[in-house]
C-alpha cells in the first residue's frame, strides 16, 4: 500500500488518466443498469404493483394477455384465495391537447388489483371514469379531463391517478369492467360481456389449482418475461454491461502493463536489493484497487448527478443494490486486469538490473 500510494501521489497526472477512464466506464455501466431497470419497469410495473402470484390465460394465447379470452365466472370456480379479472383493450386517448397510446384495463370493484389512488376521488367508479397511470401527467393530462377514444364514441373522464401503472411500455387506465366491455364489444356486448382476457391469482399455492383444459396458469414472472420485446430488450442491455466489464478489464490491463514495463529496471533494482516479487506484486494490485475504487465511486456519484438532470422521457431508474454489485464487479475485473503486470514483475530478472 505504501509503495502504491506514494507512486500515485507523485505521478498524479498518469493515475488521474487511468482513474478517469475507469470513472467513465463505471458511469456507463451504472447508467446502462439504470436504463435496463427503467426499461424493465416500463413493461412490468403494473404487474408488479398487483403483487399477484399467477395469472390464468387461455392456452392458445401463448401467454399473451391480448390474445387470451376466457369467461369471468371461471374466477369463482378456481377456488383460489383471491382472484381478479382483467379485460384489456388498447386505444389512443385524446384530451383535446395531447394524444397518447394507452391500455384500458377493465376491472371489478374491490378485487385485489384495484389501484391505490395517488391523487383524485377515491370513489372512482362513476360511469366511464378512469384512474390513469401518473405517467400521463407528464403529457399534460389531469383530473377532470374528458378523453376521446380512437375506436369508440364513448368519452372517458379522468377521476384519479395511480403510481406505477405502466404495462408493456404503455400507461394503463383502470376502469369499470362493464364500461370497458361496452366499448370493447359494442353491438355484441350482450353476447361477450362475460369474456375477459385473464384472471389474476393471489395464492401462494396456485400451482395446485385445478384449471380447465384449454387454459394455463403461469407465474407472474413468467408472464412478464413473455411480454413482447421484454426479454430481448433486457438481454441486450445486460450484454452491453457484460461487455463493458470485459472492456474495462482490458483497458486496465493495458494501462497497467505499460506502466509496469516502464518500471522494469526499477523493479529489477528493487528485487536485486532483496525486495520480494510478492511485495511488488501486492503493490501493483493495491494500486489497481485504489484506482478502481476511486473511479467507481466517482462514477457512481456522477451517475446519480446526471440522473437528476435527465428529462422524464428517459426511462432511467437507478437500482442501488444492482449498482453496488456492478461496482464491485468492476473493481474485481480491474484487479484481474493487473494479473499480466503481476506476472511481468515476477519474471523480471534482478540480474539484468545490475547489467550482469
Amino acid at each position: 500500500m505504501f509503495l502504491a500510494w506514494s507512486e500515485i501521489k507523485r505521478n498524479k497526472l498518469r493515475f488521474l488518466l487511468i482513474t478517469s477512464i475507469l470513472l467513465l466506464v463505471s458511469f456507463l455501466v451504472f447508467f446502462l443498469s439504470g436504463l435496463a431497470n427503467g426499461l424493465a419497469s416500463m413493461n412490468r410495473e403494473a404487474v408488479d404493483n398487483w403483487d399477484a402470484d399467477a395469472i390464468v390465460l387461455t392456452e392458445e394465447s401463448d401467454k399473451s394477455l391480448y390474445q387470451s379470452s376466457l369467461d369471468k365466472d371461471l374466477a369463482d370456480e378456481l377456488g383460489a384465495k383471491e382472484t381478479a379479472v382483467v379485460s384489456q383493450m388498447g386505444s389512443i386517448v385524446n384530451n383535446g391537447d395531447a394524444k397518447k397510446n394507452v391500455l384500458l384495463f377493465g376491472i371489478n370493484k374491490d378485487e385485489f388489483i384495484t389501484p391505490k389512488l395517488s391523487e383524485g376521488d377515491p370513489t372512482f367508479y362513476v360511469q366511464n371514469g378512469v384512474v390513469a397511470s401518473d405517467a400521463l401527467k407528464d403529457d399534460g393530462f389531469k383530473i377532470g379531463d374528458t378523453l376521446e377514444l380512437s375506436s369508440s364514441d364513448t368519452e372517458l373522464t379522468i377521476v384519479g391517478f395511480t403510481e406505477k401503472a405502466r404495462f408493456n411500455a404503455a400507461p394503463v387506465l383502470y376502469m369499470k369492467l362493464n364500461d370497458l366491455q361496452k366499448i370493447k364489444f359494442g353491438e355484441s356486448y350482450e353476447m361477450n360481456k362475460n369474456m375477459v382476457n385473464a384472471i389474476i391469482i393471489k395464492d401462494s399455492k396456485w400451482i395446485n389449482l385445478d384449471i380447465p383444459k384449454d387454459t394455463e396458469i403461469i407465474k407472474s414472472e413468467t408472464f412478464i418475461e413473455n411480454l413482447p420485446g421484454y426479454t430481448e430488450q433486457n438481454l441486450t442491455v445486460t450484454y452491453m454491461i457484460y461487455f463493458l466489464f470485459v472492456i474495462s478489464a482490458a483497458i486496465v490491463a493495458i494501462f497497467l502493463y505499460v506502466l509496469t514495463v516502464q518500471k522494469i529496471s526499477m523493479f529489477g533494482l528493487m528485487k536485486a536489493q532483496g525486495i520480494s516479487s510478492s511485495y511488488l506484486a501486492k503493490s501493483v494490485v493495491a494500486q489497481t484497487f485504489i484506482l478502481a475504487l476511486i473511479g467507481v465511486v466517482l462514477g457512481f456519484g456522477l451517475t446519480l448527478l446526471a440522473g437528476s438532470f435527465l428529462p422524464s422521457a428517459v426511462p432511467v431508474q437507478f437500482d442501488l443494490p444492482a449498482m453496488l454489485s456492478y461496482g464491485l464487479v468492476l473493481i474485481a475485473v480491474s484487479i484481474a486486469g493487473a494479473v499480466i503486470s503481476v506476472w511481468t514483475i515476477i519474471r523480471i530478472d534482478p540480474l539484468k538490473a545490475i547489467g550482469g
Binding site: 509503495l3 526499477m266 536485486a272 532483496g274 520480494s276 511485495y279 545490475i354 550482469g356
Partner: protein, 226 residues
C-alpha cells in the same frame, strides 16, 4: 570471514560457444575491510559482483555469505539473504524515482525485519550529510547527493556486506573522493565488508586491498601501492 568464494566459476553457453566469464576464483573479505575489484569493462567484474552478491549462482564452486551457502538456496531464499545481509550501491542510482529520501528508507524499513532505531537513522542521515535532503525526491538531488542517499539505503539496518558497482562513475573528482571517504568511514565504523567494483584508479588510496580482474581471472594486486 563474511564473504567467501570457494573455487567459484561462472560459465555461459556450452560447447564452442562456452564463455568462462569468471574463471575459478577464491576470494575472502573480512568485516571492516574495504576492497576494490579493478578491471576494464568486459573483464568479468560484473559477473563477479552478481555471483558474490547472490544475484546468480556460480556454475561451480561455492559462495558463502555469513555462513549461508548460496548455491543451496532458491531465488526466494537468496532474495532474503540479499535483503538481510547485503547493501547494494549501484552505478545508476538505485533510488526509486517516486519516493522521497525518507520514503526510500521507509520502504526498506517495511520489508526488512531488523529495523534500525530512530536514533540510528538520525545518525545515519548525519553521517552521510543528507539530513536536510530528507523530503526531497531523487530528481531534485545532485549526482553526489543521490549517491549519498544510495549509500544510506545500502547501510540501512546494518548489512554485513556492501557491494558497490562503480559508485563514483557519474561524479567529478571531488564528489567521488567524498563518496569514497564516506564508504571508508562507514566500513570501519559499522564493520562491514565492502567491495567496490570500479575502473577508476584515482580511488586506489582508499582501499585496504585491490584485486585486478583480467579476462575472468581475479588476482590480488600488491604492486599497486608501490
Amino acid at each position: 570471514m563474511v564473504l567467501e568464494l570457494r573455487n567459484a566459476k561462472k560459465t555461459f553457453g556450452e560447447g564452442n560457444t562456452l564463455v568462462e566469464a569468471l574463471k575459478e576464483t577464491n576470494f575472502l573479505v573480512e568485516r571492516g575491510e574495504l576492497v576494490a575489484v579493478i578491471g576494464p569493462s568486459g573483464s568479468g567484474k560484473s559477473t563477479f559482483l552478481t555471483v558474490a552478491g547472490g544475484l546468480q549462482s556460480p556454475s561451480e564452486g561455492q559462495v558463502i555469505i555469513n555462513g549461508n551457502e548460496l548455491s543451496q538456496l532458491n531465488e526466494k531464499q537468496r532474495s532474503k539473504i540479499r535483503l538481510q545481509e547485503i547493501g547494494f550501491i549501484l552505478q545508476a542510482s538505485n533510488l526509486v524515482p517516486f519516493l522521497s529520501v525518507d520514503q526510500q528508507l521507509e520502504l526498506l524499513n517495511k520489508v526488512k525485519k531488523n529495523n534500525i532505531s530512530r536514533v540510528e537513522k538520525k545518525q545515519l542521515y548525519e553521517d552521510l550529510g543528507i539530513t536536510k535532503l530528507h523530503k526531497k525526491y531523487p530528481s531534485d538531488l545532485s549526482g553526489g547527493e543521490r549517491q549519498r542517499v544510495a549509500i544510506a539505503k545500502a547501510l540501512f539496518s546494518n548489512p554485513s556486506i556492501i557491494l558497490a558497482d562503480e559508485p563514483t562513475a557519474s561524479l567529478d573528482s571531488d564528489r567521488a573522493f567524498e563518496v569514497m571517504e564516506l564508504l571508508q568511514h562507514e566500513t570501519k565504523s559499522k564493520q562491514t565488508a565492502t567491495i567496490v567494483v570500479t575502473h577508476d584508479t584515482r580511488l586506489i588510496k582508499y582501499f585496504d586491498k585491490v584485486y585486478k580482474m583480467t579476462d575472468g581471472v581475479l588476482t590480488l594486486d600488491t604492486t599497486i601501492y608501490e
